[in-house]
Symmetry: C2
Subunit: 185 residues, 2 copies
């Protein structure tokens, strides 16, 4: 089996490489907007399926294409990638001292079928100090990260008290669920 991963995320690429399958990266140019009535896990699943529908690649018998989207969901709203320092700071202040959900939606597509699923991890941040937030943003510039943090970076080491669910789902891909789906796909 050969996997085709439609993602620009370097973290997703590193994770897919670990699975041990032959893989390649393919383009993803789908829009990132979604209907506003969608909530929580409906959003990344919708976005992953939208990516799958936009992609016109013809797949051979042994290929499976993987379309993924991940959102950070806190107090009933999505936290996107922060556009600047102030937005990153506001996001981390919002996440501080409480739990939020990291939700991935995946859509798998072969030459004859398509299947979607999601994975949810709950992440608990300790109350973050202002100097910890400032230190992190200044040194790690998390502008490419939804929710303004990477769990595998300094803020994850010092700030995340515990998680419930898959760690790799928070890094970028629910690799265990994906592996299990691929076994029977």
């Amino acid at each position: 089996m050969e996997l085709l991963l439609a993602s620009k995320s370097p973290r997703r690429r590193e994770l897919i490489a670990q699975l041990g399958y032959k893989y390649q990266i393919i383009d993803n140019n789908a829009p990132e907007d979604f209907p506003h009535h969608l909530k929580a896990e409906q959003i990344p699943v919708f976005l992953a399926e939208q990516k799958a529908n936009f992609n016109k690649l013809s797949l051979s018998q042994n290929q499976v294409a993987i379309f993924a989207d991940t959102i950070v969901w806190c107090e009933d709203e999505v936290l996107n990638k922060p556009e600047n320092y102030e937005e990153a700071k506001k996001m981390l202040q919002k996440l501080s001292g409480k739990s939020h959900q990291v939700i991935s939606g995946l859509c798998l597509k072969s030459h004859h079928k398509k299947e979607s699923f999601f994975d949810i991890t709950t992440v608990y941040f300790k109350p973050l100090l202002e100097n910890e937030i400032d230190y992190y943003i200044k040194n790690y510039k998390p502008y490419d990260k939804a929710g303004a943090y990477g769990i595998q970076e300094w803020i994850g080491f010092i700030g995340v008290e515990k998680i419930e669910g898959s760690y790799f789902n928070v890094v970028g891909l629910p690799i265990q669920k994906l592996y299990q789906k691929l076994l029977t796909f």
Copy 2:
């Protein structure tokens, strides 16, 4: 503050490096045996304190020495490092399809005080296939790892359904709790 880490584990060294403190590695030659009436978290705390007591280093005002031990605790027994292929296979078969605890004990020591604490993470393995166990042991040789697995290796990607607690505690050091203790130590 300068940290002195008494550990031979390369994973612990990598984690301590992430904290951002100045640090150095020191020797650890304490025995690894413990009284048999001890259970669960009492064991790594005892072993960490034993390491601290064996160490005769004199610490300066700004130094904190860190002594750590981690055990894998499954069905009321400790899983140590496997001595050979068969033992590794038996351990992974035992962990398969159920949850176990990874428990770290830490002892912090400065020139005028000493403090111990522990951290527990529950790890849930999916039912592992025999060919998955064989593939992992042959390719990753987990003979230096308690419980015969590393969560940051292939078996962790494909086999761990979820965790409850700190991921880095399973990798080798409860880095968030350690950071928080150091803030007020």
